[in-house]
Each structure stands twice: as structure tokens, then as C-alpha cells.
């Protein structure tokens, strides 16, 4: 059975290692924080200027001055810090953030990503995504394998305006875990109960299948 959004978040949480500073994008990536193992030390950075984000505040304790990049009210944990936008992107551009998890509308087999604009239709802007994908060493995309019309989002080439070039390292979808290699999407894991044929059918870009593909363990 294909994963739901929570399932994708759960699987990605396993990529979060002890000592990582992590930037989570809006949408599925935000959910990842809920599933990170409690026995490791991780700090979440939000590009609007906070390191050491905690959970949402208790009702009545919201503070308009303490939000994340999704404009949601948040709290901070001991050891947290606030800073300005320039210093925040110094962390990102300077590669001090170890892991970036973000959503995408399309990813190409060479690791290009498109997630900020549908010409003539939707133009919300790139926010911090272009800075993140241009600098991060370790970028994981969290998304559904296909769009609402059923078309693959893992393409030979992106059709939408790019956010970044040859930058995505790994993709976790409702169907699979894939890594981007010089030859295309290397299939690493299947979602529970999903078979390789389904993944093949949902992937337009070159899919590399080597040996037996294990089922995700989540």
C-alpha cells in the first residue's frame, strides 16, 4: 500500500542522523520533526531566523513574534537562538545545515528540481528554496510520486521553471525511496506492498533497478 504523507515523513525521519542541523520545508517536510528518534540530538533551523525549534505552543501561549518559515506559531527548545535573515542564510549558504528536506512539483533524473512556479497559473515565489538547493550538500525531496492528474513527477527533464540544478540527492515518495545518480533514479526501496512494476509505471525518468528491491522498514 502506498504511503500517506505521514508515512513519507516517517521514512524520511530515518535519514536524520545524530548531530544534524536540519531545515524543513513547508508541507510534508514539516511533519518529519514528529518522527525523529528521540535518542539522537537534532536541531531544526527555520530560515526566517530560528535555530532549535520546538513543537507548536499550547493554546493561549502563541506569540506573533515567534513563528517558523511557514508562518506557523512555534516554540523554542533550550539552546535555541534567534538571528536575522542574513545570518540565517549564512548558515544555509555556508553549508552549516547538514540536511535539507523540501517538497517538489517535479524532479529530473539528473537531480534538477522545480517547486516554485507554474507559469501563468501559480506564482507564489521561491522563498528560501533556491538558496537551500543551491548550497545544501544533502537534499531530500519529499513528494507524491505522481501529480493529481496521475502524471509522473520524476521526469527525464523538468517542464516547470527550475528551482535548482543537479542538486537533489534523494527522493522519498508515497511509492519509493530513490537516489539520484549520474545515470538516473536508482530505486532503493519500495513502499510496503508496492511492487517494482507500479513504481516503473509511475516514473517517467530513467529508473535503475538493481537486484532485489527491499521494502521500506518504517
Amino acid at each position: 500500500m502506498a504511503l500517506d504523507k505521514q508515512g513519507i515523513a516517517k521514512r524520511i525521519a530515518k535519514e536524520v542522523k545524530d548531530g544534524y542541523y536540519v531545515n524543513l520545508g513547508i508541507g510534508i517536510p514539516t511533519l518529519v520533526a514528529n518522527y525523529v528518534r528521540e535518542d539522537i540530538d537534532v536541531e531544526f533551523q527555520s530560515e526566517n531566523g530560528v535555530l532549535g525549534m520546538g513543537p507548536f505552543p499550547f493554546e493561549g501561549e502563541e506569540d506573533a513574534d515567534i513563528i517558523n518559515a511557514g508562518k506557523q506559531t512555534i516554540t523554542t527548545l533550550p539552546g535555541a537562538s534567534f538571528f536575522d535573515s542574513a545570518l540565517s542564510f549564512s548558515m544555509i549558504r555556508g553549508q552549516h545545515v547538514q540536511l535539507t528536506i523540501l517538497g517538489a512539483m517535479e524532479v529530473s533524473e539528473n537531480g534538477d528540481i522545480a517547486n516554485w512556479k507554474i507559469p501563468g497559473k501559480m506564482v507564489k515565489g521561491m522563498g528560501g528554496a533556491m538558496d537551500l538547493v543551491a548550497s545544501a550538500d544533502n537534499i531530500i525531496v519529499a513528494m507524491m510520486h505522481t501529480n493529481r492528474a496521475g502524471a509522473s513527477k520524476l521526469l527525464k527533464q523538468c517542464s516547470l521553471p527550475l528551482t535548482g540544478v543537479a542538486c537533489v540527492k534523494k527522493i522519498v515518495t508515497n511509492l519509493a525511496v530513490l537516489e539520484v545518480t549520474s545515470k538516473g533514479f536508482n530505486l532503493l526501496e519500495r513502499a510496503p506492498g508496492v511492487n517494482v512494476e507500479e513504481i516503473k509505471a509511475a516514473t517517467e525518468g530513467n529508473l535503475i533497478i538493481t537486484g532485489e528491491i527491499p521494502e521500506m522498514n518504517i
Partner: protein
């Protein structure tokens, strides 16, 4: 001590005129210069170019100026959450330049710090870099981005004193410090105007040298865009 205090938003806006380029601090609705925006609306300036990470929501923040069609051009990184904005942009009434958020911050900081331009990897290979100079350093490609040139910068701080020293609170800090001193005139509005000498010199986020005018703001709404909470009951509290 050099004195920067003015009495209110009206006095702080002296010299603003139609067609000017303005910087406005804030991320979403957090840390926006509410008083300055309100005064810009009341005085009815038009043909403004606004450099601000976001464009407010329909009825608050820069959305107020958009509704009255006072803005000719927006330079932002993210403009979701604003239907009127999207309408004006898609219809061509509003000129919009979308740039990466880190580039926005650094083009402000470059203006503040006297740098003419910066090289950033953000946007390389995308339409953001179209027509711009690119260059390789150590095997990686960068885009040349120029410092902003603005007439006024409007920022909002938590505390400030007569010397123009500012302290920000939480994530309401965001672009505000980077926009101080990045325009010809920087106007700071503060929630708490404190007596001279009461701020610890060690803990000032922006020294007064970057601020030309400061005033005690009034009637802050500080609207929350996404009120996300946990229920205490769920955690066995209260």
C-alpha cells in the same frame, strides 16, 4: 549622543514621495512596520517600489497598499497568501520581481555595508539568473547580484532608544536589521521606547548609526497568520 527621535509616523515619513523605492522589514506579518505602512496608506503615495520578503495578506501589511494600488512594483521572495496580489500580478497591473530569500537579505546587507554586489549560488541555472552575469569559483557557479538602492527603509523593532539603538524580538527580527542603513533614510518604529542608556551596549542588535529616525509605534495588531497550537489537555496539562 546623537538624537534620532521623531514624534510619530507622520513626522518619520517626511520626504517620502510618489515613485520612491522603499524597503520594509518583516517576514509574513511578523515584525512588519505596521505604523509606517498605515501612514503610507493614509498619505496615499503611489507608484512605489517595495522591497519586502512578502506582500502581506489581503487586508493587512503591504496588502493594504496593494488594495489601494499604491504599489507599482514588488521585489519579494514569496507572495502567496494574498489573492489581490495574485490578481494584480497575473493581470499585469503589478510588476513583480521574485528573488531568492537569501539573495534578498544579502542585497540589503550589501547596501548597508557598502558592497556594490555579491556572488551567490542561489538561482544559478534558473530563470532568476537569466540576463545576469555568472561566474565560476572553485568549481561552483555563482550569480552576480547587485546591492539594492532604496530611498527609505522602514523597520520595526521591539525596543529602541533616542540614539536609534535597536533590539528585536524572536523571529520578528528577520530582515529588519539587514535593512537598517540600507536606504538613504532608515526609519525605525518600536514597541517600547526606552530611556537613553537603559539598553546594555553589549546586547544591541543594530547600533543607532544605521538609523536616522525612530519613533514609538502605536496600536500594534501583530496579527498571526497561521495560529498553530497544541491542546494542553492532550498533554495532561491544565
Amino acid at each position: 549622543m546623537i538624537q534620532k527621535k521623531v514624534s510619530d509616523a507622520r513626522e518619520a515619513l517626511q520626504g517620502v514621495s510618489n515613485g520612491m523605492t522603499l524597503m520594509l522589514g518583516g517576514f509574513g506579518l511578523s515584525g512588519i512596520p505596521e505604523n509606517a505602512i498605515s501612514e503610507l496608506m493614509h498619505q496615499g503615495f503611489n507608484n512605489l517600489t517595495c522591497i519586502s520578503n512578502n506582500a502581506g495578506v489581503d487586508d493587512f501589511g503591504l496588502g493594504l497598499l496593494l488594495q489601494k494600488k499604491q504599489i507599482k512594483k514588488m521585489v519579494s521572495s514569496y507572495v502567496g497568501e494574498n489573492d489581490e496580489f495574485e490578481r494584480q500580478m497575473l493581470s499585469g497591473e503589478l510588476d513583480v520581481e521574485l528573488i531568492p530569500q537569501g539573495t534578498l537579505a544579502e542585497r540589503c546587507r550589501a547596501a548597508q555595508a557598502g558592497f556594490p554586489a555579491i556572488y551567490t549560488p542561489a538561482g544559478y541555472g534558473t530563470e532568476v539568473a537569466e540576463g545576469k552575469e555568472t561566474r565560476e569559483f572553485n568549481g561552483k557557479m555563482y550569480v552576480l547580484e547587485h546591492a539594492f538602492r532604496a530611498d527609505f527603509s522602514f523597520v520595526k523593532a521591539w525596543k529602541g532608544d533616542v540614539a536609534g539603538n535597536l533590539i528585536f524580538k524572536g523571529t520578528a527580527r528577520n530582515f529588519n536589521p539587514n535593512m537598517c542603513g540600507a536606504a538613504k533614510i532608515t526609519v525605525a518604529e518600536v514597541e517600547e521606547f526606552v530611556p537613553a542608556g537603559s539598553l546594555d551596549p553589549n546586547q544591541i542588535h543594530i547600533p543607532g548609526i544605521f538609523v536616522q529616525r525612530i519613533f514609538q509605534g502605536v496600536n500594534y495588531e501583530k496579527r498571526i497568520e497561521q495560529r498553530t497550537v497544541r491542546q494542553k489537555a492532550q498533554y495532561g496539562i491544565g
